[in-house]
């Protein structure tokens, strides 16, 4: 299960009200507004706590999301691109978040760079559907994954800080 800090963060993310997926033409725009409200709230809250760690934006109809996430390890910032599609079964099923540049570097990942969430995530999402949104997915899915995987990838040398990489290339 997510650690205490994550749980506290999640408890502060506003829950969503509209049960609608992208196939629901009438209600999806309302759901999308709620998604943005919750995401803005979460990012602002992270900033206030000096723990800003991701940005997301969507295409006009809110079905494809792209952004960046970053992780500070030993005072160095590691940044990764992230992306996902909102599945037709959303919000009953969570989107599969992908960090494509880490594809093939960790066993905790499916093809195409989709992160492999802990066994706790699916039950947690199912129990809280449809009130959990994309902000919850970030806090409970991607956040804990990065916290475990990135330090491990760095220690194994699979992820190298960009500036160090440049220095190494210059030598």
């Amino acid at each position: 299960m997510a650690d205490e800090a994550t749980r506290r963060a999640v408890s502060q993310i506003p829950l969503l009200k509209t049960h609608a997926g992208p196939r629901d033409r009438a209600l999806w725009p309302q759901r999308l507004k709620e998604e943005y409200q919750a995401l803005i709230h979460f990012v602002e809250q992270n900033k206030a706590a000096d723990n800003d760690w991701f940005r997301l934006e969507s295409n006009a109809d809110g079905t494809r999301w792209t952004g960046t996430c970053w992780f500070i390890h030993e005072l160095l910032r590691y940044e990764f691109r992230l992306e996902f599609d909102v599945p037709v079964t959303y919000p009953d099923t969570a989107p599969e978040v992908a960090v494509p540049e880490l594809d093939g570097k960790t066993a905790k990942m499916y093809r195409g760079g989709k992160i492999c969430l802990t066994e706790h995530f699916a039950p947690l999402w199912a129990r809280n559907a449809p009130r959990f949104g994309l902000a919850h997915l970030m806090a409970l899915g991607l956040g804990p994954w990065l916290a475990v995987e990135v330090p491990d990838l760095i220690s194994k040398g699979h992820v190298i800080h960009k500036e160090q990489q440049r220095e190494a290339a210059a030598e």
Binding site: S11, I13, P14, L15, L16, K17, P22, R23, P29, L32, K33, E34, Y36, Q37, A38, L39, I40, H41, V43, E44, K47, R55, L56, E57, S58, D61, T63, D85, V86, P87, V88, T89, D92, T93, A94, E96, A107, K108, M109, Y110, R111, C116, E119, A122, P123, A126, R127, N128, R131
Partner: protein, 373 residues
């Protein structure tokens, strides 16, 4: 000036083309030198002679006539070397899309089958619409629905997408799967409105009777065992044959516990409180149809149910201990020994927190605000 990414992509494209060329070449060589490829048979012969490739099938008289058939394949992955342990792809097909490679191999085995392949992810908006269209219109006879949909996917999202499509279309389908620890699997027949759909209960799992504490999950997401997958695939196809050719008892749910060689089986009715509204709609229609059926037939059906129950000889006992029940936050459906749910969902909503407030802002304004953060 092209970027490195663009060039990489181009290299990949050229590699794919090369693979295809090599395949075509080797297929042509095979055909010439060994005459491995027999021509397509227009009309199937019922003769039981060695020259008839269907003679052994025809020998099973009770099956009746096997019609020409068609396969529609959907997948978005590419063949990788890591797939060689359990899928029927060959190393030289690495890099091809899975549907393309599968079509090629299957066509060589049986040229009488018509294929239609779609290399995409069915869970995204536009692909899903097309996926539904092909289920409802893609039958052998143009404009007719397919006979049966088989789900051989490896994730919950894709299963739910198939479930959504089949509930809306009233399409009968079979679900199959192997657990992430690769030592259990299942198949399930879903008749919308009649048997439980994939959303009627939390995901069912075949208990592998492994102590969860001894199972090390760190560092990997999923294991695979070609034999488990082979057994489950065999059970699935057997059930398909029984269903399509109408022999034996078609299984509604058949689990496979590889650790103990235990095959739990059951039938589960659709849940009137299912989350999927199309499932509930199909249930209404099924009820209506059942009510309209003449009484004599109803008696027959009842007899059949009793017969099936006796044949399976399964005791319907709840597997959960008091302690587990306490720990669980929702009720566990009544399931036979060896089958349980991956998790439970509480009937009451858990402690509710704050919800998003009403806003005057438009979606565009919110999007802009998010970008400015």
């Amino acid at each position: 000036m092209a970027t490195v990414e663009e060039l990489k992509l181009r290299v990949r494209e050229l590699e794919n083309e090369l693979i295809k060329c090599k395949q075509k070449q080797s297929a042509a060589e095979d055909a010439q030198s060994q005459e491995l490829h027999r021509p397509k048979i227009d009309k199937m012969s019922a003769e039981v002679v060695d020259s008839n490739p269907y003679s052994r099938l025809m020998a099973l008289k009770r099956m009746g006539i096997v019609d020409d058939y068609e396969l529609l394949l959907f997948d978005y992955d590419k063949v990788e070397l890591a797939n060689m342990n359990r899928l029927f792809f060959q190393p030289h097909q690495a890099g091809l899309s899975k549907v393309e490679a599968a079509e090629h191999t299957l066509r060589n085995i049986n040229p009488d089958v018509s294929f239609e392949t779609h290399n995409y992810n069915i869970t995204t908006m536009e692909n899903f619409t097309h996926f539904m269209e092909r289920i409802s219109q893609g039958g052998l006879e143009d404009g007719k629905p397919v006979d049966l949909v088989l789900s051989c996917v490896d994730n919950f999202e894709a299963r739910m997408a198939i479930n959504t499509a089949c509930n809306e279309l009233g399409q009968i389908w079979m679900e199959s799967g192997v657990s992430e620890n690769a030592v259990s699997g299942h198949i399930q027949l879903i008749i919308p409105g009649e048997t439980a759909c994939f959303a009627c209960a939390p995901p069912l799992v075949v208990a592998a009777n492994i102590d969860e504490k001894t199972l090390k999950r760190e560092g990997v997401c999923a294991a695979s065992l070609p034999t488990t997958m082979g057994v489950v695939a065999g059970i699935l196809v057997q059930n398909v044959l029984k269903y399509l050719l109408k022999f034996g008892t078609v299984s509604y749910y058949l689990g496979y516990n590889a650790m103990q060689d235990f095959f739990p089986t059951m039938a589960m009715k659709a849940n009137p409180q299912c989350n999927d509204r199309y499932c509930r709609k199909q249930q209404e229609e099924y009820k209506k149809k059942e009510a309209e059926r003449p009484k004599v037939e109803v008696v027959e059906v009842e007899e059949e149910v009793v017969h099936e129950d006796n044949e399976w000889g399964i005791e319907l006992v709840s597997e959960v201990s008091d302690a587990e029940l306490q720990a669980a936050s929702g009720s566990v459906p009544d399931l036979p020994e060896g089958i349980t749910v991956a998790y439970t969902i509480p009937a009451e909503s858990p402690a509710s927190g704050e919800t998003v407030e009403e806003t005057e802002q438009s979606l565009e304004e919110l999007m802009a605000q998010m970008r400015k953060l």
